[in-house]
Each structure stands twice: as structure tokens, then as C-alpha cells.
């Protein structure tokens, strides 16, 4: 199976060709937003970290920023810095340039003499990159260049029973075709981690999955917190999910059944092809942020209660098996899988349907959140700002 994508110098394939306006820190975010609003083909993110952080938080912010810039859906990057942040624009630019050959330019607000002067220069730079991006032709790419992020959010009981198994079927089909899938949200493995770990290709990977859950609970405990206080969420409980264990056992079904060939730290690029899992929060926006930084070029998202979320760099295709949610929130949901619950659609047929939908997205079909220009982001944190 092939799709029409943008081949990058590092061998990966993008399914979009964005110019990314990337702030180094919160202080550059509004300027970046205005620059992106002036240039067709440019997207921006709002960044809430990047300064006054301990080293572990800075490391996470840098993984997200560099990962976003290197994402295959990005043609080129315009960085907007302030000047006194932890990693200033020139340093971030050099770091990104050492990781990718794509065009990267950067500006500093203090250096340029304020927002308006920065905007003027950055808009010209973004305009030139967007003009150049328009010349890049789509080429036939093998489906093995697809790294599909698999996410769920606003789950209810329909998620674990119907939409997650359907996405699991999609994941199996893609892996069998040579593509890769990435499931994250390790907090939502807890209670089902022993089931998930059975899919591990090696005993080392098995134990790594168990250890991630143990470490996550220990990390929260060290701060006097308990994951069972926040999981399931009030919406999950209202939707019929009573414990984290029940939620997790439904969540992990979206990863399918193929052997897990790699277990990644958060926001890390995979080195293997196949079914992969990554250690992230269960907070869906934060999990997607880390999957985009890891290089996912498309994301499929199951929901029961409905969610509007979208990402600036990577299209997010949302599916639900809750008939009421689909009809009530059709403006936010791309695919209706309620036929599974009604007994009119088999899980196998739903997998085929989703494969076609994802294939369309790879070929350029906009998801609803993408058409609205949504740009959600949440960078995970180890501890308080300093």
C-alpha cells in the first residue's frame, strides 16, 4: 500500500508540508501566533514552558521542541525566542540543524527590539519558506513510512468495547502492511499492564512495561499523590468506567495484538518498525504532544464522550462508537463506529473502514480538527516551575 507524501532528506515521509512557527518559550508564543496568522501554509504552537525550570523539565521541553521541528510533516521552521530563556533561539536553531537538514531560521524579540520588529522579519522569513514549500511535489511513499499515533480521550464504556478494539484491528492491519503504530498513555496501562506486557516481543520489554507502571506510581507517591484520585476522570465515571483498571483494560485494546517491538521513553523517536508503546501521561493532549515529538505523521483518536482536539503539525482523526456522541458532536468527530454496538458492523469491517479513512488522511484529506486549525499542546512536567 502506498500514499502520496512529502519525502524528507532523512528518509521519512510527511503527509503535510507545514512551515512551523516555533516559540522557544511562553514569551515567544504570542509573537509566533501572529507570524503564523500572516502566512498561508504556516502553523504555530503555543508553548507554556521553556524558562524557569529544573533540568528535567528543560530536557522534556527541548525534546518536544526539537521533536516538533524534526517531525516529517514539517517543511521548515521559524523559531521565535525572547533572549533570556533557558535555551535561546540560536542555540535551539543549531540543535535542530544538527538533527535535520530542513531549513531553520530564528529571531529573538529582545535582540530585534520588540514584537513588531520581530514579526516583520519573521513574517518575511516564513513567507519565503512557505513559497518554497509550495514547490515540493508529493511522491508515492510506501505505507511503511507511516507512524500512526494511537490515542483515546474522553473515554466511556463504548471505547473499550467497540472503538478501541476497532483501532486495535487497524493497528494490526497496518503492522502487517509494514507500517508502525505507537500507543502511549502508560498511566492507562495500570490494571491492564499484565495483559499488555504479554504482547512484548522479549522478556526485557515485558518487564520494561511493568516497570514503567511501577515507576509512575512511585513518582506520584513521592509527591504525596495517587493516580487513582485523578483516574478515572469524572467524565469517565459518568460514562460507566468505575476504576482505573476498567479504563486501562479498555484502553490497551486500541494497540491491537501484534508483538510490541519497542518500549520508548516519552517523546522519543522509534528505532524499530511495528507495534510500539511509549511512556506518557494519560492526559490525551500531553500524550499527543509527545507522539508528535516522536515523529508520528498521523494520529487516530477514539472517544466516547466527545472531544474537539487537534494538533497543528499532525492530523488527528477522531472516531466514536457512541451513537449519541456522534450525532450530538458530529462537528468534532470524523468517523461513526456506533454500528459496532448496534451489531451492524463487525470489528474486522470497522478496521477496514478505519484503514481507508487513515489512508485518505495520509493522501491529504483534512480531518475536522485540522480544518478548524486547532493547535492543542500540553508539555509534560516532572515538578513545579522554579
Amino acid at each position: 500500500m502506498n500514499f502520496w507524501g512529502y519525502k524528507r532528506a532523512d528518509g521519512r515521509a510527511g503527509i503535510r508540508n507545514h512551515v512551523l512557527i516555533l516559540p522557544t518559550c511562553a514569551c515567544g508564543s504570542e509573537t509566533a501566533r501572529i507570524v503564523a496568522s500572516q502566512v498561508r501554509g504556516a502553523v504555530n504552537i503555543i508553548f507554556n514552558t521553556g524558562c524557569s525550570d529544573v533540568q528535567a523539565n528543560t530536557d522534556m521541553s527541548q525534546k518536544i521542541l526539537t521533536g516538533f521541528a524534526c517531525n516529517p510533516n514539517v517543511f521548515g521552521v521559524v523559531i521565535i525566542g525572547l533572549g533570556c530563556e533557558t535555551v535561546p533561539h540560536a542555540k535551539l536553531r543549531d540543535k535542530i540543524k544538527s538533527m535535520t537538514s530542513k531549513p531553520v531560521v530564528s529571531f529573538g524579540i529582545q535582540e530585534e527590539g520588540g514584537t513588531l520588529k520581530t514579526i516583520e522579519k519573521a513574517v518575511r522569513a516564513a513567507r519565503d519558506l512557505a513559497a518554497e514549500a509550495g514547490l515540493q511535489q508529493k511522491e508515492l511513499c510506501d505505507i511503511s513510512e507511516l507512524l500512526l499515533g494511537i490515542e483515546c480521550g474522553g473515554s466511556d464504556a463504548t471505547s473499550g468495547i467497540a472503538s478501541n478494539p476497532a483501532v486495535g484491528e487497524l493497528s494490526d492491519k497496518l503492522v502487517d502492511l509494514g507500517a508502525s503504530t505507537l500507543m502511549s498513555e502508560s498511566i492507562e496501562w495500570i490494571g491492564g499492564e499484565h495483559v499488555l506486557a504479554k504482547r512484548a516481543a522479549t522478556p526485557e520489554l515485558h518487564n520494561k512495561i511493568i516497570r514503567i507502571c511501577a515507576d509512575y506510581e512511585a513518582h506520584l507517591k513521592a509527591a504525596g499523590q495517587d493516580c487513582r484520585a485523578g483516574q478515572p476522570t469524572p467524565g469517565n465515571k459518568f460514562g460507566g468506567l468505575s476504576t482505573i483498571d476498567e479504563k486501562s483494560l479498555g484502553c490497551i485494546r486500541k494497540g491491537g495484538t501484534r508483538p510490541i517491538v519497542e518500549v520508548l521513553e516519552q517523546a522519543t523517536r522509534p528505532t524499530r518498525r511495528g507495534a510500539i508503546v511509549m511512556d506518557t501521561a494519560g492526559y490525551d493532549i500531553s500524550s499527543i504532544t509527545s507522539m508528535v515529538a516522536a515523529g508520528c505523521n498521523a494520529i487516530i483518536f477514539t472517544t466516547g464522550r466527545g472531544t474537539p482536539t487537534g494538533n497543528a503539525i499532525v492530523p488527528v482523526l477522531k472516531v466514536t462508537a457512541n451513537a449519541q456522541t456522534y450525532s450530538w458532536m458530529e462537528d468534532n468527530i470524523d468517523v461513526d463506529l456506533s454500528g459496532i454496538i448496534a451489531g451492524e458492523l463487525t470489528i474486522a469491517d470497522a478496521g477496514d473502514l478505519l484503514l481507508k479513512k487513515i489512508h485518505d488522511v495520509c493522501n491529504g484529506r483534512l480531518t475536522k480538527a485540522e480544518a478548524y486549525g486547532f493547535s492543542d499542546i500540553a508539555v509534560d512536567h516532572v515538578c513545579r516551575f522554579v
Binding site: A157, I161, E193, H206, G240, S242, T243, D245, L249
Partner: protein
């Protein structure tokens, strides 16, 4: 007629696919029928047999929690009467 889905033979709960009213006969997809003892919202769980305080709750053939109070057969199983049991990760290592 109200319906509920049984996901695994080991399970002692089923998931209602329509809201159920006390007195309704709930038809279980996956086997059997049970009389609903209290109103149960759509997508919530109905107990398929009497569950005593301290009993394990099974869904997907796996433990999803433990009962914090007695639950009647046909009763509503929710976060109000079951809770998550801490994991024993060390025993899961191979």
C-alpha cells in the same frame, strides 16, 4: 427490552447498551437475562449475580476492582460501590 453486553464468560458484570429501569428484564448479549433491581444509566454495569463486599469484579475476564459493599444481582455497579486494588508489580516480572 433492555440489552447489556457480556464481554467474557468469567465476568460478573455486563455493560448496559440502553438505560435500564428497575423491574426491566435485561437481555444479556453473550447469554441469559436478569431482572434489573435499580435504575442503571446507559453504558453502566449491571451485576449478573450477587456480589458480596470484598468480592472481585470481573470485566474483560480481568479484575477491574473490589466491591466496597454488597451488590444485588441486577444491581448497579459503579465507582460508588467498587474500588481499584493496588497492583503487585514485583510478582508480574518475568
Amino acid at each position: 427490552m433492555t440489552n447489556a453486553i457480556l464481554l467474557d464468560k468469567k465476568d460478573n458484570v455486563a455493560t448496559c447498551t440502553t438505560a435500564a429501569t428497575a423491574g426491566d428484564a435485561i437481555k444479556i448479549l453473550g447469554g441469559g437475562e436478569i431482572i434489573c433491581r435499580e435504575d442503571i444509566p446507559i453504558w453502566h454495569k449491571v451485576a449478573l449475580k450477587k456480589i458480596a463486599k470484598g468480592d472481585k469484579i470481573f470485566k474483560y475476564g480481568e479484575i477491574i476492582g473490589e466491591a466496597s459493599s454488597d451488590i444485588l444481582a441486577g444491581g448497579w455497579v459503579s465507582h460508588e460501590n467498587i474500588f481499584s486494588v493496588p497492583r503487585d508489580y514485583a510478582s508480574e516480572m518475568i
